[in-house]
Structure formats: structure tokens, C-alpha cells
Amino acid sequence: MKIKKIPILKIINTAIITVIIGLMIVPFFIMISTSLKSYAEVTKWPPVWLPDIPKWENFSTVWSKAGNIRIAFVNSLIVSLSTMLLCTVLGSFAAYSASRFKFAGKKPFLFGVIITQMFSAVILIGPMYGIIRDMGLLNTHLSLIIPNTAFSLPMTVWLLYGYLDGISPSLEEAAMLDGCTRLQAVTRILMPLLAPGIITSGLFAFIVSWNDLIFANSFITRTEMRTLSVALTSYRSLFETYWHNMMAASLISVIPVFVLFLMIQKYLVKGLSAGGVKE
């Protein structure tokens, strides 16, 4: 009796969740289908789900002609890769220190790092603009790399700190007893074990930086220095009704982060929710 009853409930539950999640991800399909439409199809009423002939040339149009997407793409890539590199290097140093050493001020440091997550960039952007300007950095990649790094560092430090706490220090100690220096123990024994953590936190920093709008919108005024986020928003006001081009440009900007996200989502969710629940 019981065996027969359970699958029915399971089927109903699956049906309900299919509808909910289906509705949640429908906008994503709208983006893909719109990006392949022609202008005539975009302005057709009622809207059609799939274009008659997929217009792949929309992608090459936005890439090389209207809107400077290619230049913006390269700018975003430079900023995000630099942020990723800085975050992983500096974050690993700090996380290693917090996980393997006892020192005065450790708890305030870790707490202070996480508390910064409370501040939106908006309430600091005015003074930051002054600082960036006085350093002569407006309209440079560095003006975005510095704040993006700082905004990703808290998560990097906490993610890596969590990973390091899961790796027993006895492994490094054993290596040091065998005659390794601390640096050798770290590079030869610890680093390979920590690699997934480093990759996860690095890609997280990349994604955060790739998605930044507020710094890029505030510190960059020259068209050739714009990042993708800014290019996309100004695209909107420039070509108000060319939704097919805008969706194609949007899709180009989504693909890199989406691929990275697929690679790390399992670890990221684990790290984020563990951090959220622990604190």
C-alpha cells in the first residue's frame, strides 16, 4: 500500500516544481530567441517564440559594428582578470594567516572584513570618486580594478578561510618535520589541496567584477574605456527599439560568466551558504 502511495505525491510535487522553475527560466529563453530575430520579427504582434530563420549575423553586427561591444568586452576582460588575480593572491595570504596563525586582532580582522558587505558601493561612491580623481586614475582600468578587488576580497578571504580550515595543518607540519621550509610545505603540499578553493574564489571575483555597473558607470566617461555593463545600458538609450541587437549583445556578455558559473556553482553554493549560515 505504502509503496504505491509515495510515487503519486512525488509526481505531483515534480509537476508543481516543473511549472514554477519553468516560469522562472522562461525569460532566459526569451533572451536567446529574441537575439536571433530580425527587426520585423521583434516588432511583430503577437510575439513569435522562434524566428523563422535564426539571424546569427545579429551577433557579428553588435560585435563589430554598433555599440563598441568588442572594445567593451576586452575592457571587461582586462578588469575582471586583474581583479581575479589580485583577489586570489591577496585573499590566499590573508586566509592562510587567519587559518594557520594565532595572532592578536584576528577575530576583529575577520569580522571587519565580513561587515564591509553591509555597505553598498553607492554610499561610498562620492568620496571614492574624489580619491580616484586625485590619484589621476579616472578613465583607467585601475580605477575599476581597485574597488572591484576590494569588494570581492571579503568573500575570497572567507571562502578560502573555510577551505583551509577543512585541510588539516598536520600535513604541512609533517612536511616541515621532513625538512621542508614553511614556504615549501605550502607550495608543495597545501597548494594542490587548496586548488579548488582558489579556483572557486577567483572565478567568484571574476563574476562580481564582470557584473559591476556602479564603478564603471561612475569612473569611466570615455567611450573606448567602457566595460560591457555600461556599454549595454547606453546601448539601450541609443537604440531604443532594436531589442534583437540588444539581446544579442546581452547574450555575448552573459556567455563568459555563465560558463564560469556552470563550472563552479556546486562549490560556490556550498561555500556561500555555509558562510551565510555560519555567521
Binding site: T14, I30, S97, G126, I146, L232, R236, S250, V277
Partner: protein, 297 residues
């Protein structure tokens, strides 16, 4: 030998600080110093461009606190936050319950639910601007087809509708993370709790009220805290979808501060508003923090 140990000891004392120093420096440049400047500017008449900066005492605060527009913005922000947080927490909880329960294709659904979160907020906002478009948007078409509305609705053109639309879009982005937080909380409840309740003859509702909710109390409070702070600070969705309009219908504190800074270049005023936000968020955090700790006693 003694000397060697002494240098080793000294080294050990300096090493941890040397390792955290770079992070500290970044934090000071990007958070600490600007935060100090914000407090300083809130007592000054200072412009974003030019070098004018005059000490004005509490004049900015007086202006903010006696300005009806400030309270309008504040109430609008609180309403928007409450609505959006309710959507995120409500849907997040329901989804987590399903994803933790008996369903087929669990792994696939756990992955699919993350998609709205994996797309950059700017792109999501542009995408929704298209879906909500009054002339050619999909939403109007399907609502009309289902007979729910008669005429096309311009979702972002009236203050009230824009308020709701931006809130729903912000919730759409925020739900995945809330779901994941709840999911990790739900999966941490031991099966033996439910087993014991089943033996005692509890039904599904009783199990939910007496086991699931009490076990989840702390996780719910943490999710509420984080979601409230994130939502209060939301900027991208509103900025791209409406820019605070129409007629100030979506002008939350964050949009107002940004406009004050880069639209009017009035750094003194935006700093004062920032301090107000800072006070509100701190008060909120302390309130939640106390609730979380009260639960532990």
C-alpha cells in the same frame, strides 16, 4: 640556539600581520577612508567637482530631517524593501521545501533554479525591460491571451506599476540564493526528528509547525538579515529599468544618493543621506542580531 629560536619567534609574530596587510590596505582605501570622508562631508557644503568645501555644522542634517521628500524616499524604500524581501523569502522557502522533498530530477532542478542568479543584473534588467515593454512585450500578450487584462499595460510608465515591476525583477534575481540558504538549513535537520514525529502520529502540517519551523528559525533570521540588507542596497535593477522614475515612483534611497552625487554634484547632501542609510542598516542589523542570539538562550 636560543638566538635562532628568538628570531623564529619574532618572525612568527610578524608573519601573520604581513600576510593580512595587503587586504587591510585595500579595505582602508576602498571602505575605511571613504567612510570617514562621508562623515566629514555630511558636515560640509561640498561639491563633487571643484574645490569648494565649507564647514556648515548640522545644516545638512537639518535640511534632510525637515525635508518631506526625505521621508517620502525613506517610506518608499522601506515599502519596496518589505515587498521585495517578502517575495524573496516566501518563494525561496517554497522552492527550498520542494527541492528538499520528494521530487524527480532533483539535481537538475537544484541547478536550474540558480539560472536567474547566474545572469548579470544589468542583463537581467535589460531583458525584463523587453519582457515588460508596453508595445511588443511578451507579458502583455500572454496576460491578454489568458484574459487577465484587456489593454496593453505600460509596466514601467506609471509610478505604482513600476514600483511593483522593479520589486518583482529584483526578487527574481534574489530568490536563488535565498533558496540555497534555506536548502542548506533544511538538509541539516536530522531525519530522526521527523521519524519520531511520525511515530507520535503527527500529520504533515504538525511536522512542519513543530519541527521544520523551529529548526529553521535561526536560518530564517539569517536569510532575513542578509536579504534585507541586500535589498535595501539594491541599485542595478532600478537604475537600469526606471532610473528612479516615473515621477519618483521607484526612487529609493540608493537611487536618490546616486543622483545627488552625480546628477547634482551635491556631495554634502549625498553624504548626509549616506549617513542616514548607515544608521538605518546598523539599527536593522543589531535588531536581527539580537533576535538571532535570543533564540540561542
Amino acid at each position: 640556539m636560543e638566538e635562532v629560536m628568538f628570531t623564529e619567534l619574532r618572525k612568527r609574530h610578524a608573519t601573520p600581520y604581513a600576510l593580512i596587510a595587503p587586504v587591510l590596505i585595500f579595505m582602508i582605501i576602498v571602505y575605511g577612508y571613504p567612510l570617514l570622508l562621508t562623515f566629514k562631508y555630511s558636515f560640509q557644503d561640498v561639491s563633487l567637482i571643484g574645490s569648494k568645501s565649507i564647514f556648515v555644522g548640522l545644516a545638512n542634517y537639518k535640511r534632510v530631517l525637515t525635508d518631506p521628500k526625505f521621508y517620502n524616499t525613506l517610506i518608499l524604500t522601506l515599502k519596496w524593501t518589505v515587498l521585495t524581501v517578502a517575495l524573496k523569502i516566501g518563494f525561496g522557502f517554497i522552492l527550498a521545501m520542494f527541492l528538499n522533498g520528494e521530487i524527480y530530477l532533483k539535481k537538475i532542478y537544484r541547478f536550474l533554479v540558480l539560472i536567474p542568479w547566474a545572469i548579470p543584473q544589468v542583463v537581467v534588467s535589460i531583458l525584463w525591460a523587453w519582457i515588460l515593454d508596453g508595445q511588443y512585450g511578451y507579458l502583455n500578450y500572454y496576460l491578454q491571451k489568458m484574459g487577465l487584462i484587456e489593454n496593453a499595460i505600460y509596466w514601467l510608465s506609471s509610478p505604482r506599476l513600476a514600483f511593483i515591476s522593479t520589486s518583482v525583477v529584483d526578487a527574481w534575481i534574489g530568490i536563488p540564493l535565498v533558496t540555497m540558504i534555506f536548502l542548506s538549513g533544511l538538509s541539516a535537520i536530522p531525519d530522526s526528528f521527523y521519524e519520531a514525529a511520525r511515530v507520535d502520529g503527527a500529520n504533515a502540517l504538525q511536522k512542519f509547525v513543530h519541527i521544520t519551523l523551529p529548526s529553521m528559525k535561526k536560518v530564517i533570521l539569517i536569510a532575513l538579515t542578509l536579504t534585507t540588507i541586500w535589498t535595501f542596497n539594491s541599485f542595478n535593477v532600478i537604475f537600469v529599468l526606471t532610473g528612479g522614475g516615473p515621477m519618483g515612483g521607484t526612487e529609493t534611497m540608493m537611487i536618490r544618493i546616486y543622483k545627488e552625487t552625480f546628477g547634482k554634484y551635491n556631495l554634502g547632501m549625498s553624504a548626509t543621506l549616506s549617513v542616514a542609510v548607515f544608521v538605518i542598516l546598523t539599527a536593522l542589523s543589531i535588531f536581527y542580531w539580537k533576535q538571532i542570539n535570543k533564540d540561542e538562550d
